[in-house]
Symmetry: C2
Subunit: 248 residues, 2 copies
């Protein structure tokens, strides 16, 4: 049986908590990890505060296979992610020689103390870098540190993801119920209880006809169980629609 | 001195963690609370799992003045927020007579076991309801339970917010630096260290001229300290621009 690989995500930044910046990374990373077969199990958003970051990192990294972070790796005083990660993981941090070398070439005499901060990398970390990425991300222990700017974070995900353990992928199938959640709640619960190894979700939405409707999503790592549960869901819906038509 | 009022936010739902649904509530609530003078200090996203919800609720509600939750108050088996909140707060839960009465009028013979679930409210809770809200939210102890659908959550925020303690509002001012983060990192750190009661953030963005630029945001509850720190930031930027022009 293939291992189940899990992840936590830590979004770091005062600007997300104040509402000044609207996070665009949680949804992207959630979908990306699902496609890799990695189960995102928890997300936390914390301010630019070392003790808060360290506490959240340690809570998440002991619980899950991987922890991803976004934000706080730039050149200013509020960028404290690298130091916080080093502290949480318990390794020293210093200027990474190869990154310093690259910064010297790139910045020349514009290389100052602030920019050098972006070369601070915890000992033993693997860099996440490319020609177009200014401040590198890194992976140390089971923590993967990425930029907060969505386009850079996304480039970093593409670089690091082939190196991660991929789990057995969660399979999913969905059906449009053409029914109200309140009308299918009881029979759906009954199916969900019998198929305890599948996860059945019910999501209300407003259809193009402006009427409330429901999507039912069945998820499982086992195609047979998924198909069996979805078969029952569809049979339940067919019975419901037949009863409705006979009344009208 | 006015009390500082803090909040945590708990977003509940497998669909956010799988990436199927992209959260739109975190940014809205963050901005809304900031405008009320309530500091949002932490956000967590957890799955539809009672033990995970209870654990996160208890972590957040002992740390902050209020905890807001979104999601999981519909009629289906995966809607377990009300029961989880009752468990975390340590109060019994049952069918709320007034809500049951309203449901009877509204649904008539379509009132079934699934819909009745939406009338399960922890004992002693204050309802968050209106004529247009189907399943009511509620406030019990310091936990405020709201819908996951953004339009309904927003209506609930408008209903409950006048009843919350408002803190002294965080004031903020921002300036466009017309400079790279890496060029202002050191002088900005120096100002941030001297003005320890203000929070100074630096946010890179790409300007309309397609060039990288930086916004600097100063935040404080004290207008004088805010003005003093912002004055120094602007003087620092003016000196930087003058030096740049004299070189060219």
């Amino acid at each position: 049986m293939t291992e189940i690989v899990t992840a936590g995500l830590l979004v770091i930044g005062d600007e997300i908590l104040s509402g000044r910046t609207k996070d665009k990374n949680i949804g992207f990373i959630a979908e990306y990890l699902t496609n890799l077969g990695i189960d995102l199990k928890e997300v936390r958003v914390v301010p630019d505060d070392e003790s808060e970051i360290v506490e959240a990192l340690n809570a998440l990294r002991t619980k899950f296979t991987y922890v991803f972070t976004t934000g706080g790796i730039g050149p200013t005083h509020d960028d404290i992610t690298a130091d916080s990660v080093a502290k949480a993981v318990g390794v020293p941090i210093g200027y990474h020689p190869a990154v310093v070398e690259r910064f010297k070439e790139r910045f020349g005499e514009r290389l100052n103390e602030a920019r050098l901060r972006m070369a601070r990398i915890p000992e033993g970390a693997e860099l996440i870098e490319s020609a177009t990425i200014l401040a590198p991300g890194f992976k140390v222990d089971n923590v993967i540190v990425m930029a907060g700017v969505p386009s850079i974070m996304q480039a970093m995900m593409d670089i690091i993801s082939p190196k991660l353990k991929a789990g057995q992928r969660m399979l999913s199938d969905s059906v449009r119920a053409d029914a109200l959640e309140g009308d299918i709640g009881s029979p759906l619960r009954e199916i969900a209880e019998r198929y305890s190894e599948t996860s059945i979700g019910s999501y209300p939405f407003v259809g193009e006809d402006n009427k409330p409707n429901t999507n039912i999503v069945v998820r499982s790592r086992d195609q047979h169980k998924l198909d069996a549960a979805m078969g029952e869901v569809k049979a339940m819906l067919a019975a419901l629609h037949a009863a409705r038509n006979s009344v009208q």
